[in-house]
Symmetry: C2
Subunit: 303 residues, 2 copies
C-alpha cells in the first residue's frame, strides 16, 4: 500500500524513512515538508495538492510538531485516507477527540502511535506485571535536548510540551504495563526564564511511583523505569528495550525488531482489519501535569 | 433518601443546603467539614467515621476544593454510596476516570455536576442551535474573585484552576449547547507574580469563538455567551439564565427553578434509574488551555 510521510525532519529521516524502506507492507510514495525531502520520492509543500495528485496513496503518516499537525490530519481524513500520528497525537486532547470522530465518520483507520510501547522489553513487562500489585517505583528519563532536538525551538514554545516530549514516552510505557491506571497526584515543572515549556519535571503518582524527567542530561542518557511489586522487582532500561526481573535479564517477546518497523506493521494490520487505535492515557497524564503542576522559573536555556 | 454533604463552605451554605432543604427527594442527614456545620445536622470531621455511623445515608455530595476531593470521593465509593461532585469533578482528568471506573465496579451512581448547564436559558439555547452552523462567538466571563471567593487562597494554588473555576461554568454551557465539539486552538494565561493559577485568560476556539475570562472585575459582573450562526444571533446572559435570539428575549424551557435544585432532582433521577452522568468536555478544555496556553506574569494579587 502506498503511504505519504509529512514533516521531513530528524525523526522522519532517522526512523520513519528507514522503517518504510524495510517494510513489506508499505511504499513511500510522496513526502510533504516545507524544506525536507527524501531522495527519489515526489515532494510536496501543500497537503491538499499532494492528496489530489496521488489518489493511490491510501495512508498518510504525520511527523509534524503537535501544534501544526491538526490541520494536516484533518485534510488527510477529509480526503478519506488512513491516518498515522507520531506521538504526541496532537497539541490538545479535544483535537484528538475530534480526529477520532472524523475518522469514524469517514470509515478510515486512525492510529495514534507510541513508539516506546514497541521497545523490546515492554510486552514481557506488561505480561509479568499482570496480576501483581505495584507498591512503588521510579521513572528516570533524562536526555540531552541539544542532541535529540538540535535547534528545535518549537519544543519549548507553548504547546511544544518541553521535557514531556521525551517524558511522554516513559508515560506511554507506564500506562501500558501497569495493571491499574496511573493517577497523577502532584507535579513540579521547571520552566526556563526565556521559555514557555518545562525543561525538567518531577511527578508523583498514586501508589508511590515518582518520575524524574530532565532535558539537560549530558553524558550517558537515562531512560529507566523501575517498579517494586508484591512479587519482585521489575527494571526496564534503555527506553524499554532491556527488561530485568530481580536483577536478572529477561528475554523480550521477540517479534519485529525496531520500534518504528513494529509501528508500521501494526498500522498495516489496523488498516487490514478496518480498526483504529487511539489511547490517550499518556497525553491525559501530561495534561494533568500541566493543570496540577506547580511551576518554578529556572535558568534561561539556549540551544 | 438520606444524603450527606461534605465541604461546608460558601457554596455549600449558599446553594446546596437550601436546595436540599427544599428538595422532595433528599434529606440532609450528616455533614463533613473541618470547620463548617449546619444547624441541627450531625457533623463529622472524618468521612469514614461518618459513613460507618450512618449506613442509612445512600449518597454523598462533595463540595470540597478539587485537590482534596479525590480521597473523599474514593471513600464514598468504597462504602458503596452514590456520589455527586461539585464542579470541577476533580483536580485531574485521570482521577475522574478512576472514579468512573470505581463507581461502575461498585454499581453506584456518579454524577459530575455542571450547575450552569441548569441555568434557565441553556436548554432552549441548545435546542435552537441544533442544526444551525455557528460562524463565530464571544464568551465574556468576568467576576470579582474577592466577592465570590473571599480569602480562598486554594483557588490560586497549583491545581486550584484560578479564573477557570468560574470560567469552566462558561465552558460547561458552551460544550452543552454547541452542535459540534469545541476545540481550543490557542490560549493566553495571566498568572499573578505571587500565585500559581491564572487570574485572567483569553481563549481561541476553532470556528471563530473567543473567550475573555477575568477574575478582577469590579462593579457589575458579566457572564455572557454570544454566538453568531447562519440562522441568527444567540445571546445568553446572566450566567445562562437569560436567552435572547436576534435581540428578542426567549422563554426558557421551564422546569425546576434554580440550578442546584435542578441538580439534586437530576441526581435523584440518576439514582432511581441506576445511571451515571460524567461529561468531562469542560474539564478537557481547561486541561488543554493549561497544556497549550502561553503564560504571562502579571501584577501580584492579594485578597
Amino acid at each position: 500500500m502506498k503511504i505519504a510521510l509529512a514533516g521531513i525532519g530528524k525523526i522522519a529521516l532517522d526512523q520513519h524513512v528507514p522503517a518504510l524502506a524495510a517494510s513489506p507492507d508499505w511504499t513511500l510514495a510522496a513526502t510533504l515538508s516545507r524544506h525536507g525531502r527524501v531522495e527519489g520520492v515526489p515532494a510536496f509543500a501543500d497537503i491538499d495538492a499532494m492528496l489530489a495528485a496521488h489518489p493511490d496513496i491510501g495512508a498518510v503518516s504525520l511527523c509534524l510538531p503537535p501544534v501544526p499537525r491538526f490541520d494536516a490530519a484533518q485534510a488527510v481524513l477529509r480526503a478519506g485516507r488512513h491516518l498515522m500520528l507520531e506521538k504526541p497525537p496532537g497539541a490538545t486532547l479535544a483535537e484528538v477527540h475530534a480526529l477520532q470522530a472524523m475518522a469514524a465518520d469517514a470509515g478510515v483507520t486512525i492510529f495514534a502511535t507510541w513508539h516506546s510501547r514497541m521497545a523490546l522489553g515492554v510486552a514481557a513487562a506488561r505480561d509479568w506485571l499482570a496480576g501483581r500489585r505495584v507498591t512503588g517505583g521510579r521513572i528516570t528519563w533524562r536526555e540531552d535536548v541539544r542532541h535529540w532536538h538540535p535547534g528545535q525551538d518549537w519544543i519549548f514554545e507553548a504547546g511544544g510540551m518541553g521535557v514531556f516530549d521525551p517524558g511522554i514516552n516513559a508515560l506511554s510505557i507506564l500506562t501500558h504495563i501497569l495493571p491499574t491506571p496511573a493517577r497523577l497526584t502532584a507535579a513540579e515543572l521547571d520552566i526556563p526564564a526565556n521559555r514557555q515549556a518545562p525543561i525538567a519535571a518531577r511527578l508523583d503518582f498514586a501508589g508511590g511511583i515518582t518520575a524524574d524527567l530532565d532535558f539537560r542530561q549530558q553524558g550517558p542518557q537515562t531512560w529507566d523505569i523501575a517498579l517494586e511489586t508484591d512479587g519482585g522487582r521489575l527494571a526496564l532500561s534503555q527506553g524499554g528495550n532491556l527488561l530485568e526481573i530481580d536483577d536478572r535479564p529477561v528475554q523480550g517477546r521477540g517479534g519485529i525488531a525496531g520500534e518504528y518497523p513494529a509501528l508500521y506493521a501494526r498500522m498495516a494490520d489496523l488498516v487490514a482489519r478496518g480498526a483504529s487505535d487511539v489511547d490517550l492515557a499518556p497525553m491525559v497524564l501530561v495534561a494533568d501535569a500541566f493543570t496540577l503542576g506547580r511551576r518554578a522559573t529556572v535558568a534561561s536555556f539556549d540551544f
